[in-house]
C-alpha cells in the first residue's frame, strides 16, 4: 500500500513536471476571457432592447414558437425548441429569471457547452500521453525493470489520471467563475434553477420540476461532467496503452470525441448510435431537461453506457499492458 502511494506520487509528479497542467491552465486563462467578453456583448445588446427580462423572455418564447411553425426545420430541432419554449414559459409563469447575469450562471453555461468537446480535449492532454509517452520516450524500460509488478504501475497511472481529471474540472469551473465574476459579479449561488423537466413525446412533463440553488446546480453539473470526462480519460488511457505514439493516440481520441458531437447533432434516426460512448458524453442535457440526442436515451441509460465502455477500456488496458512485450 505504501509502495502504491509512492508510485502514485511518482506519476503525479511526472505529469506536473511535464507542465501538462500548466498548459491547461494557460489555455483556460486565454480562452475563458474570450467567452466572457462574447457573453458580455450579448448581454449589452439585449439590454437596450427590452423593458425588463420578462419582456425579453416573452419575445424569446414568441420567436421560438414562430420558428416551430416553419415546415422546413427538422423534427429534432422542433422537439428541442418545444422543450425550450415550455421551459422558458415555466420560468416566466413563476416569475424566475433564467438568465440573470452572474458568474455562477456563466460558469454553468460554460460547463454545459464545454462538456462535449472542450473538457474532453483538456482531459486528453493528460490522458493521451500518460502511457504512450513512456513508450515513445523509452523510459518505460526503466519503469518496468524495477521490482514492481506491471499492473501496479498501470493502476498508479490510472489513479493519477483520475486525480488530474478532477483537478482539471475544478480548475475549469474556478477559472470560469473568477474571470466572469469580474464582469458579471460573483453572486448568484443561491438563485433558483428549475430541474426535473421530463419530455414526454413533444410535451413537457413538469410534475417533477423543482427549484434548486444555482450553486447546487453547478455542483451537480460538475459531478455529471466528471463522469463523462472520466470515461473519455479511461478510453484515452486504453488507446495510450495500445498505441505507442502520443500523437497517434491523441488524434484517435480527438476523432472519436469530435465525431461523437457531430453524431449527437445529427440526432440521427440511426438508433443504435446511442450505444456509442461519444454521443452519451453530454450528461447535462438530462439536468437541463432538454431532449437527448437520440430518442430513448435517459440519464440511467447514458450512465450505464459510459460505465460499460469505461470498464471495458480498463479491462483491455490492464490485459494488454501486463502481457505485452516491450520490443522497442
Amino acid at each position: 500500500m505504501r509502495r502504491d502511494l509512492e508510485l502514485i506520487r511518482n506519476e503525479t509528479v511526472k505529469v506536473w513536471k511535464k507542465k501538462r497542467f500548466a498548459v491547461i491552465v494557460l489555455i483556460l486563462l486565454a480562452l475563458v476571457p474570450v467567452f466572457v467578453y462574447a457573453q458580455m456583448k450579448i448581454a449589452q445588446s439585449s439590454q437596450g432592447k427590452y423593458a425588463d427580462w420578462r419582456a425579453e423572455l416573452r419575445q424569446r418564447i414568441a420567436d421560438n414558437t414562430n420558428a416551430l411553425t416553419s415546415d422546413r426545420i427538422p423534427e429534432e430541432w422542433k422537439k428541442w425548441r418545444v422543450a425550450l419554449v415550455q421551459q422558458l414559459q415555466y420560468y416566466l409563469d413563476r416569475d424566475v429569471n433564467p438568465n440573470t447575469p452572474n458568474a455562477v450562471r456563466f460558469t454553468n453555461t460554460f460547463l454545459q457547452n464545454a462538456v462535449g468537446l472542450f473538457i474532453p480535449l483538456m482531459v486528453l492532454a493528460v490522458a493521451s500521453d500518460i502511457v504512450s509517452s513512456e513508450r515513445s520516450g523509452g523510459t518505460i524500460k526503466m519503469l518496468l525493470t524495477r521490482p514492481v509488478r506491471r499492473w501496479r504501475i498501470l493502476a498508479a497511472k490510472l489513479v493519477t489520471l483520475s486525480m488530474y481529471v478532477s483537478l482539471i474540472l475544478v480548475t475549469t469551473a474556478a477559472v470560469s467563475y473568477l474571470v466572469s465574476g469580474l464582469v458579471f459579479g460573483y453572486g448568484g449561488w443561491r438563485e433558483p434553477v428549475f430541474v426535473g423537466f421530463k419530455l414526454n413525446g413533444s410535451n413537457m412533463d413538469t410534475t417533477g420540476v423543482h427549484a434548486i440553488a444555482q450553486g447546487v446546480y453547478m455542483l451537480m453539473q460538475l459531478g455529471l461532467v466528471w463522469f463523462s470526462a472520466m470515461t473519455v480519460a479511461v478510453i484515452a488511457f486504453m488507446v495510450s496503452v495500445l498505441v505507442r505514439s502520443t500523437a497517434a493516440s491523441l488524434v484517435t481520441m480527438m476523432a472519436a470525441v469530435i465525431s461523437g458531437s457531430i453524431l449527437a447533432n445529427m440526432a440521427s434516426s440511426w438508433h443504435s448510435a446511442k450505444y456509442l460512448f461519444n454521443v452519451n458524453l453530454d450528461l447535462s442535457v438530462y439536468l437541463q431537461g432538454s431532449p437527448p440526442p437520440i430518442e430513448g436515451m435517459t440519464l440511467g441509460f447514458s450512465l450505464a453506457v459510459l460505465a460499460v465502455w469505461s470498464l471495458a477500456a480498463i479491462g483491455v488496458s490492464f490485459a494488454v499492458f501486463t502481457r505485452q512485450d516491450i520490443l522497442a
Partner: protein, 349 residues
Amino acid sequence: MQKSMTAENASVSVSSSAETERERESRVLREPPVLSVEHLSKTIRGRKIIDDISFDVRAGEIYGFLGPNGSGKTTTIRMLVDLIKPTSGRVLVCGEDVNKHPERALRHVGCIVENPEMYGFMTGWENLDLFARMQEGIGEARIEEVARIVRLDSRIHDKVKTYSLGMRQRLGIAQALLGAPKLLILDEPTNGLDPKGIKELRAFIAELAAGGMSVFVSSHLLSEIQLLCDRVAIIDGGRVIAVGDVHDMIAQSEAHTLWLFEDPEAGRRLLTDDPRVEVADGDRALLDESVLLALPGAVPTLVRQEDIPDVVARCASAGVGVLAVQRVVPTLESLFLTLTGGERDASGS
C-alpha cells in the same frame, strides 16, 4: 578522475578487500549463479528470434554477450529483465524466476537496456528519487552516494535534457546501482561514448565486479569484450554458438598481420609467392576498417606468428623495404569463422 571513482567505490566493495584472488574465485564457483538462463526461446510472429539459449553468470564476474547487430542480443537482454516474455525457457536471478516473480527477481538487478532514457523534464536528482521510490529501502543517502559514485554530484540538480550523452549514461548507471544490485546488465554501454569515456567506464565496471557485483555486458565489438570480460557467450542468429573464456577463444582464432612496404606492388608479389603467407584481401579481410585506415596501403595477411621474422628477412633480402608489420586483434568475423569452421558467410552479418 579515475582515482575518485576508485575511492568512492570502496564503499561498494566490502568483501573483496579482505580475500585474495584465489579465495574469491573458489567462493564464486561454490555459489549458485547470479543469473541463470535456461533454454530460452522467443518466437515473434512465427519467426524464431531466440532459439534455446542457455548460460550462467556467476557472482563477481564480468560476462560478455557478444554478437553482431541483429543477432538477438537486445531481445535476450529484454527477456532477462522481464520486458519481453519468453516463449519457452526461463530466466533465474538469484534463484527467482524473472517472469513469474519480477517483483522479487528484479530487486537484484540493475540495468540499462539500449539507451539510458530518463525523464528529460526533470533533474537528475528527481529522476533518481523517482526510481528510488519504486523500491524498498533506498533513502536520500543512497541517492547521494550513487550520484557521487558516477561523479554527477555537481550537475545532479540540473535538468536531464541539458546533459550530454556521457552524463546520461552515467545517470543511467546511477539509476541501475540504486538498489545495490547483485547483477548489473549493460546493453552496449560504450555506444556513443568518446574514447576517454569508454576507458573510464571500463575501469568503473572492473571496480564494480571487484566489489562482488556481477556485470553482464553486451557488445558487437570483440575488442570491447576482450578488454572487459572474463567469460563470454557469443550469439549469432538467435543461437549461442560459443561460451567460454574470452582469451582462450581469441588465442584459437586466426589473427591478421598487416604489412606496409616501401614498394607496395613488389611487397604484395613477394607475399603472394610465399607459401607460408596467405594474402587476405577484399572479402577475406575481416578487419575493422579503422585498423586499415591507420595503415593505408597495408597488405592484410594470415600468417603464423613464428614465421614472421623469416618472412621479414626474405623481404629485406629481396630489396623490398618493410615499413611496418602489425599483428591485429581478430575481429568478431574472424572469430566466427573459427568457431563455425568457416561455414558462415563472411559477408552475411
